[in-house]
């Protein structure tokens, strides 16, 4: 089972943002979409969520064209973590996660259990009663992740895998929480679900991703394993600056997330 883009083109207004992109993300894998700013990563993710309709080509979710799904069917199969969520009213963390369960068919007690479990999974069990606006940016991001997790809590359902689509999930987190969230995503994939994440941090990407898509000016510049895509040549061309993989500078301070332990 997979979530795939087939020769996908997206036009926003007059600009052609995606110019025929192919991507196959498999369940059981963490797929990362990388690339410079403005290369179309977020637009691709929005198309994969079903939010943007394809101008041409198609998005296929678990074998079915995504345009044919109804909103609640889609909500049962995939959850989305946006880059940032500004909230209009003072909801508590619990109430936010409950909004993620809008299409959940189960009983009220099941929902309560899911809310507790999801907040615990993102490391915020003590923040259930706090108002969203009073949380830090990183905490808000994790509450939103809990909402997405609760929506598709079981990675593998009777009718196929569930999908987590994450738009820069670690952008406002400190390094310890970056690792926590990436482990959570990798674990979701290990248990049979599918994860697609737009990533800016190439180190974390190299560390956690099973499959990579490198975007450049609305096209896929490379797709494959991290070893195949994270090469000096491809990265240098995509990001427009000279990049060297696997070479530690002699001077300056740097640290590797690979050597961190949580």
């Amino acid at each position: 089972m997979s979530l795939a883009a087939r020769n996908l083109a997206i036009r926003l207004g007059r600009a052609l943002i995606l110019k025929g992109v192919d991507l196959t993300a498999r369940a059981g894998c963490l797929t990362a979409i990388i690339g410079p700013n403005g290369s179309g990563k977020t637009t691709l993710l929005r198309a994969l969520t079903g939010e943007l309709a394809a101008t041409s080509g198609q998005v296929v979710l678990n074998g079915r064209d995504i345009a044919g799904f109804r909103p609640h069917e889609l909500a049962a199969l995939r959850a989305v973590l946006p880059q940032q969520t500004a909230l209009s009213f003072p909801f508590t963390a619990t109430e936010i996660v409950r909004i993620g369960l809008t299409s959940h068919p189960g009983r009220e007690t099941d929902r309560d259990d899911l809310i507790r479990a999801a907040l615990a999974a993102v490391g915020l069990p003590g923040h259930a009663g706090r108002l969203y606006q009073q949380l830090s940016g990183g905490e808000q991001q994790r509450v939103q992740l809990a909402r997405a997790l609760a929506q598709v809590w079981q990675p593998l359902g009777d009718d196929g895998p569930r999908w987590l689509l994450l738009d820069e999930p670690v952008s406002s987190l400190d390094i310890a929480h970056q690792l926590t969230v990436m482990r959570l995503a990798a674990d979701y994939a290990r248990r049979g679900g599918g994860v697609i994440a737009v990533m800016h941090d190439l180190n974390l990407t190299a560390m956690f991703a099973d499959h990579l898509l490198l975007m450049h000016e609305g096209r896929a510049m490379g797709e494959g394993t991290p070893a195949e895509v994270l090469t000096d040549d491809l990265l240098s061309r995509a990001y427009g600056c000279r990049l060297c993989v696997n070479r530690a500078p002699v001077q300056g301070i740097w640290l590797l997330p690979q050597l961190a332990s949580v």
């Binding site: 909230l87 009213f89 909801f91 936010i96």
Partner: protein, 356 residues
Amino acid sequence: MVALDARNHRIEGDRRHLGRALSLWLLALLLVLAVFSLGHGASGVSAPAVLLDRLAGRAIAPTDAVVLFDIRLPRLLTGILVGAGLAVSGAIMQGLFRNPLADPGLLGVSAGASLGAISAIVMGGALPAAISAAIGWHLVPLAAFAGSWLAMLTLYGIATRQGRTSVATMLLAGIALAAMIAALSGLIIYRADDEQLRDLTFWGMGSLAGSSWSKLQAAGPVILLALMAAPALARGLNGLALGEAAAAHVGIRVQRIKTGAVLITAAATGAAVAISGGIGFVGIVVPHLLRLIAGPDHRWLLVNSALLGSSVLIVADMISRSIVAPAELPIGIVTAMIGGPFFLWVLLSNRRALDG
């Protein structure tokens, strides 16, 4: 024991029990105020005494019956429906526009209604005698209701392209439309004579004084239907608080919610304004207070807004009847006197969020 268990299992941050408890208190408050309002009036008829007489099967003085059942009761019911309609419309608009200061005026509903009323007051005399005889004094409310719908449908049409309604376009186009409607109203007012000007001014300040069973029969069902449909929007409005995209991601049919919100608001506000004129601030004050107490979850917010909106309007009506008795102050003045400072307080306490 069961109640105790439920309390132990409640998740922290789950405020639905507050909304539930609040609804019971508000219902009790509304009932008490309703009885009080029935017994309160220029004629000094005591509602409890008359009701007790009727229950005991004793004869009621005909004048008492008229005062109670043909003057005060329709006025009370009108107040309840108008207050509920305005407060629920406000809560829905705030949810749709994701802004605690939004109100149905943004949809052009109020401007359209007042254009309709002004046209009817100033140009009603030009209608053929047969038509004006058939419509009678219904002309002004009918024109106001038609005007509110015309304005709202125009705006909705402007903001909707390829089956998607842009809330931002609706907001901005609403300002332009309101300006055009005001200009048109000004043109008509320019032709009005002194008596018509007086009628216009008083219509704009709102009043429940003209309440009657026949007006209630016309407007009541419209408001009631809108109120009954409103709870269907609750989950959708909760989702919209996260933004349109996120609402769609959790399985909400966003366009359906937008259309429903616009229709319900236009029906409730249009009918309320038609029978009571311009009554401001209820739609902003009531939902905001309730959010402070039990949180913004629309599943209880909409119900409680209806209950508290009714109570607020009953109290405002009692004030308007008694403050300059035996004359009456237009109720819009009372709600604005209470609502204006409150609006300012909301604005100032949100200042940091607004500036930031």
